[in-house]
């Protein structure tokens, strides 16, 4: 395959960025998208140029490192996959592909295609946990039975990989799909009930402080989410938030 890549290059957060064109040839359709970028980088290095920086690690769709806005879509045109699991068979010979970083005020660019997503960590630190001592003096695990349906729903919410595609897909750069997935995981489990009120209030407050926008029910986040995290979580978070607000007042 022969392709033209239009890639966002930016030296650091304080420098202005721009799109640069790179023609590339000899791309195999079995390659992953990131392997295609590896090929480009090898060519750039051979020419003495600086390679394109992008985040990646596990390359099996689970660590959530890889990002990339590909032709305007987070993680590209395929559904239910991360960029590292996107394969070149999704593209055609002669295609022009635009590659940009995930864009949001709360995700400042570090370099080229790498953005800073530590705002997600701070949302979690505001309450995305159960306050249990970790030194092992807990009751037997089977003393806390959990309805299978609830456990499955909790698990489904917990599978969020924190990649930020929801934010990048949203016209408001809202982090509500991410935050609600975290809120839901604990809201559905008996262990999470004690702190439920503070958890949702604190996490939502932090989310707003980080500069993320609000949800306006467009649903782009759900469509672009590589892990199929459901919008139902946002509804659940809103219910939790309302109940918590009433309780606190």
């Amino acid at each position: 395959m022969n392709l033209t890549l239009k890639i966002w290059r930016q030296q650091d957060a304080n420098t202005k960025g721009k799109i640069v064109d790179y023609p590339i040839s000899g791309i195999d359709e079995d390659m992953s998208f990131l392997e295609m970028l590896d090929v480009l980088n090898e060519e750039l290095i051979a020419k003495g140029e600086e390679p394109v920086e992008f985040d990646h690690d596990c390359r099996e769709g689970i660590c959530g490192s890889c990002s990339l806005q590909i032709n305007g879509e987070p993680h590209g045109p395929d559904r239910g996959v991360t960029t590292c699991q996107l394969h070149m068979r999704m593209f055609k010979d002669g295609d022009t592909i635009t590659i940009e970083p995930f864009r949001a005020k709360a995700f400042p660019v570090i370099k080229d295609l790498i953005v800073d997503r530590t705002s997600f960590d701070r949302i979690q630190q505001a309450g995305g946990f159960i306050s249990v001592n970790t030194s092992g003096n807990t009751i037997d695990a089977n003393a806390i039975p959990v309805n299978k349906h609830d456990a499955d729903d909790s698990f489904a919410a917990a599978t969020c990989i924190g990649c930020g595609a929801c934010v990048a897909a949203c016209k408001n750069a809202s982090a509500m799909l991410f935050t609600s997935a975290k809120v839901s995981q604990f809201a559905l489990l008996p262990q999470g009930q004690v702190e439920a009120t503070d958890r949702v209030l604190n996490m939502v407050r932090q989310m707003d402080e980080e500069g993320f926008g609000n949800c306006s029910n467009t649903g782009a986040c759900e469509i672009e989410c590589p892990k199929g995290i459901s919008l139902e979580n946002i509804a659940r978070m809103n219910r939790e938030y309302l109940a918590a607000s009433v309780k606190k007042n």
Binding site: D121, A126, P145
Partner: protein, 667 residues
């Protein structure tokens, strides 16, 4: 010479850990807040250790190269975590988990450590459930279990095919709670590049901020290395691309012994290599072997026809298939341990029965499971006359519920539907059982420097059974290290803050800066990856699934030559003062180029086959590994002496007082 005593407590095996905990020194809670601990790596071992040490009151600094601790490679573990809970009532016990693990490790692990691991395993599940880890449940609300390779009971707890993810997020949540309380200071996108030793004790690290390139000094009263394994020495492996040996290797160069580097686990069920462009191998959870049957064609001409695409695997009659694991190992069948399953696949492919284009793949077939589950479901639903199509649909649903995400991942990568045609799999480098030598307290041969999880060597012997890595990571981090580190730190309550403006920090920082300058200014002509790939080829061909003396001798020379070439001709573009992934890789590959040589040297000296170390010269007539307990029942702990070829071997003799050493048979 460094301190080299395993410090295994005296007394009955079952009481060692309890007695030890009763006897070791404690640190008064009020004094803990005057003590700093550095944790390098934030996966299951590092994350759980950091959270628990902070919980106890120590001031903790964590370091990880990822942008967030939540991305540590533990997140990719799929299948599950073992625990001797005996919830299923199928005869499990602490002793059986201990026995299976020692036997599975081919009698090359330390009895006392493994027993402790089995002992605390049940507690791990309680802890994780309390933290809100959403394990799989049965309809009654209780926890569900499944079985893994090398084991005859169902002791594996799981969260679909994403157990590692859920356990890691549990540890990360526990860390977040401590960050929120100000007890953990997290340094993400930071890499440890050297350890600082003052008066013989680990007192800090030199780290590089990977965004700004700034070299930083961090002091502490103790340093914990939990940076994972070194499987990426093979370039292609199931490890995350960034997984590296640097932290372990730097402490090795400063006096920590490196144990059993040649013990590598080759996982039997990975997606096969498709071409030269490949950057990474993807694992398909071993749990698939609960339901998948492994086979190749019986006749070479059928294998040839399948390779050429003239024959579909589904068209091959049952009697023309060779279910070679069921044939060779009737009692364990498809659930033999990983080393056995991997070698058996290689043996069939080497003999010409491989089923993909490269001839390096076997089938993992779910057809009989789909039909079996489908029939069961039809009967449950009251449909006693279901036709094949209905049965198949019902069966696919059951399989999807169990392994849906794995099937989807396979389809995305290979572009074939595994519900309709058997998966193709081949062994790949997965986990390293070797690592930094530690004593019973998890302390390395450098006082005050500890190693936990995959970074240490202690619990898995020469092979690792499935679902045991997660168990060890969390056991070390939640339940072992927090106790044992107190024994050492009790002497430090009056030390006060460790200063960083000392000659030791100066020297370590200069060392790091010199290495960076050398690489950035080298201006050679070859990329870092080109060296890493060459190293990987040497490792796979000569130190891979099967090794022999001749190949290992060649490997040692080739790696040494490649290292020389690297320092002459490597090209690292960009500057050291900004985000520079090529520089990061170059620093890591430099360390792999030294570790690889020690790996081959260790494999060469071990004149026996055991677990993941298969020396072709030492095998039975049936092709099974032939161990030599008389001469090699020891841990090979290497001391660094300037270069890998000069490393000096120290032996820790292994004693088995509670288990009889037997030939490992899974027939």
């Amino acid at each position: 010479m460094a301190i080299f005593d395993s410090n295994i407590p005296q007394g009955d095996l079952a009481k060692k850990w309890t007695n030890h905990k009763n006897e070791i020194n404690l640190v008064n809670p009020a004094n803990k807040r005057n003590i700093d601990v550095i944790v390098v790596g934030t996966g299951l071992a590092g994350g759980s250790a950091a959270a628990t040490l902070a919980e106890l009151g120590y001031n903790v600094k964590t370091f990880c190269y990822q942008d967030s601790p939540r991305r540590a490679h533990s997140i990719a573990a799929q299948g599950g975590i073992n625990a001797a809970k005996n919830y299923q009532g199928d005869g499990d016990s602490t002793y059986r988990l201990f026995y299976d693990t020692v036997k599975g490790g081919d009698y090359r692990s330390r009895e006392a450590n493994v027993y402790r691991l089995a002992e605390v395993s049940a507690n791990i599940i309680d802890q994780c459930v309390a933290q809100g880890v959403p394990f799989a449940r049965e309809y009654g609300g209780l926890l569900d279990n499944r079985s893994f390779g090398g084991v005859l009971v169902s002791r594996t707890f799981y969260a679909k095919g994403q157990t590692g993810q859920q356990l890691l997020l549990g540890a990360y949540a526990a860390m977040n709670r401590q960050i929120n309380r100000g007890k953990i200071e997290a340094f993400n996108r930071h890499e440890m590049l050297d350890i600082v030793i003052v008066d013989g004790k680990a007192r800090g690290i030199i780290a590089r901020d990977l965004v700004t390139g700034k070299i930083e000094r961090h002091s502490a009263h103790a340093v914990v290395i939990a940076s994972g394994g070194y499987g990426n020495v093979f370039f292609l492996s199931t490890n995350a691309m960034g997984s590296n040996v640097t932290a372990s290797w730097k402490i090795h160069k400063k006096g920590a012994y490196f144990a059993n580097p040649c013990y590598t686990q080759i996982h039997p069920t990975c997606i096969p290599v498709s071409g030269d462009h490949q950057s990474k191998l993807t694992l398909m959870s071993e749990s698939l072997r609960n339901d998948g049957r492994i086979w190749v064609p019986k006749k070479k001409e059928d294998a040839e026809a399948i390779r050429q695409g003239k024959l579909k695997p589904t068209e091959l009659a049952e009697e023309d298939r060779d279910y070679y694991l069921e044939r060779r190992y009737p009692s364990f069948g498809n659930l033999v341990p990983r080393d056995v399953a991997s070698r058996a696949a290689k043996e069939r492919c080497d003999a010409g029965f491989g089923v993909n284009k490269t001839g390096e793949a076997v089938f993992l077939d779910f057809d009989s499971a789909i039909m079996r589950y489908g029939k069961e479901q039809a009967i449950i639903q009251g449909n006693h006359n279901a036709n094949d199509k209905e049965v198949r649909e019902l069966g696919e649903k059951v399989v999807e519920n169990k392994y849906g995400n794995l099937f989807q991942m396979y389809e995305k990568i290979v572009d074939e539907n595994p519900y309709k045609t058997p998966m193709m799999i081949y062994p790949a480098v997965h986990y390293t059982m070797g690592g930094i030598w530690v004593d019973y307290n998890l302390m390395t041969t450098i006082p005050g420097c500890y190693a936990a999880g995959e970074a240490n060597f202690s619990d898995h012997g020469a092979n690792r059974l499935g679902a045991s890595a997660l168990m060890q990571g969390l056991a070390d981090g939640y339940f072992v290290l927090p106790y044992t580190i107190g024994d050492y730190l009790a002497d430090d309550i009056r030390t006060g803050k460790i200063p960083t403006d000392t000659p030791e920090f100066d020297a370590a920082e200069k060392n790091v800066k010199d290495q960076i300058a050398k690489l950035v200014n080298n201006k050679g002509k070859n990329s870092v990856d080109s060296y890493h790939k060459k190293l990987g080829k040497i490792m796979w061909n000569k130190c891979g699934m099967a090794r022999n003396a001749e190949g290992l001798q060649e490997a040692i020379q080739e790696i040494s030559d490649l290292r020389d070439d690297f320092y002459k001709n490597v090209l690292v573009p960009g500057s050291a003062e900004s985000k520079n992934s090529e520089l990061e890789k170059a620093m890591r590959v430099a360390d792999f180029l030294e570790l690889g040589e020690l790996f081959a040297k260790d494999a060469l000296h071990r004149n026996e086959s055991c677990g993941g170390h298969f020396r072709e010269e030492y095998q039975t007539e049936e092709g099974e590994a032939k161990r030599d307990d008389e001469n090699f029942k020891y841990v090979a702990a290497w001391e660094y002496k300037g270069k890998p070829s000069d490393a000096v071997l120290h032996k820790e003799e292994l004693e088995y007082n509670n288990i009889e050493l037997k030939t490992r048979s899974y027939k």
